[in-house]
Symmetry: C2
Subunit: 228 residues, 2 copies
């Protein structure tokens, strides 16, 4: 029997209308869908395509942790579970928030599955930083300006913030107090825009990180800092 194909499908950051025509076509044609434990990617796709609830749903247990061994085991287990379905000739759509090639668990799972000889394909998605710029009504970069995408957990964040060009801090949620202090130290806080849950129903926008008060923000919070 011919093996199924694994598609990594970026569903964009939140607004179901930001699925691409290709994502809709590929997900429609797949026999099964899977997604990380955090269900956002499924919910976005499901709002755009209610019929996917009728597909085989492959449950994955991908823990959110910084423990490398727990992460590795979770990914191997997820890959093994997906390969069971691929082996039976069924194609699988792995739904992922934003784009598949940027900070997505799909990257790890795909490697394991590709090494076993299965065909994998990536369908790009709208990134959270592009959608956040659109929500703010601002550009990310023009002309010769570089654009730096930096996870808020990056070890040398002070150095990264000193780079020329636009800096986007991803996944800043729980680190906001520390990041804000750092931005204030570097004189960057006033112009540091914040977007939480971009395109989702609970989207929040602050024109400056200084305006946030004691607001608690979730995992999908990003900060955009442009050169003056």
């Amino acid at each position: 029997m011919k093996q199924g194909v694994l598609y990594g499908v970026g569903v964009g950051p939140g607004d179901p209308e930001l699925l691409t025509l290709k994502a809709v076509r590929i997900v429609s044609a797949c026999d099964a869908v899977c997604f990380p434990e955090m269900k956002s990617a499924f919910e976005i796709a499901h709002t755009a395509m209610p019929e996917i609830a009728d597909k085989e749903i492959i449950p994955l247990d991908l823990p959110m942790t910084r423990d490398a061994e727990v992460l590795r085991l979770g990914r191997e287990k997820a890959a093994a579970r997906i390969m069971e379905t691929l082996k039976s000739g069924k194609s699988v759509a792995f739904l992922t928030l934003g784009d598949v090639s940027i900070y997505s668990t799909f990257g790890y799972v795909r490697r394991i599955i590709a090494e076993q000889g299965y065909e994998t394909q990536a369908i790009p998605g709208i990134t959270s930083f592009c959608a956040a710029a659109a929500a703010l009504g601002e550009d990310l970069a023009l002309w010769e300006e570089p654009l730096h995408i930096i996870p808020a957990s990056y070890p040398d964040l002070p150095g990264a913030l000193r780079m020329k060009g636009t800096r986007v801090l991803m996944k800043s949620g729980s680190a906001i107090p520390e990041v804000r202090a750092l931005l204030q130290d570097q004189g960057l806080a006033a112009a540091a825009r914040v977007v939480e849950n971009c395109g989702m129903e609970n989207q929040r926008v602050w024109k400056s990180v200084n305006d946030m008060g004691d607001a608690k923000t979730g995992y999908f919070t990003l900060i955009i800092i442009k050169d003056e």
Copy 2:
């Protein structure tokens, strides 16, 4: 009469299926479309939505040059022409390759038009670097890796190439010989992947910049360099 709205619409880098559902809805609803002289953005949207040929087409003369004064005048003329249509109550879709917030002429034209009190909105698009990573079957960044997007014309390119993380050189076409020499100097050439015209019919991919020989490449050429 109510003024029309200007929508900047990212149509993605080449594959017409990478238009989002939102881009299709917004462009369909607009009375008029415009796009830079280089017609790629229109051709991509037209392939996905042949009916846009029946809309009012606003001709824009946006020169490709590094002469700042010629650029400024071109943008002001384009903005004035678009405002004529907005004034009559018609909405306009400004089609742009890739995403609207990254190196798009829309950014300049929108500023002029917004300053005159018109409503503008941006509809994000798939970036060329996300589509190129998908075409290569590779990730751009995982875990704590930063991702740097750098125009090939950036003045301190040697410094930019020394940054940690993944570096994407945009619009490298005519600069390939110089960029390749620089990559070879820094020991980065073997792992520097090249994608030209990603998602278009004339897409070309090289696994290393060293494999390109004397190939001439166009404006939409990008180079992806990952940490080993």
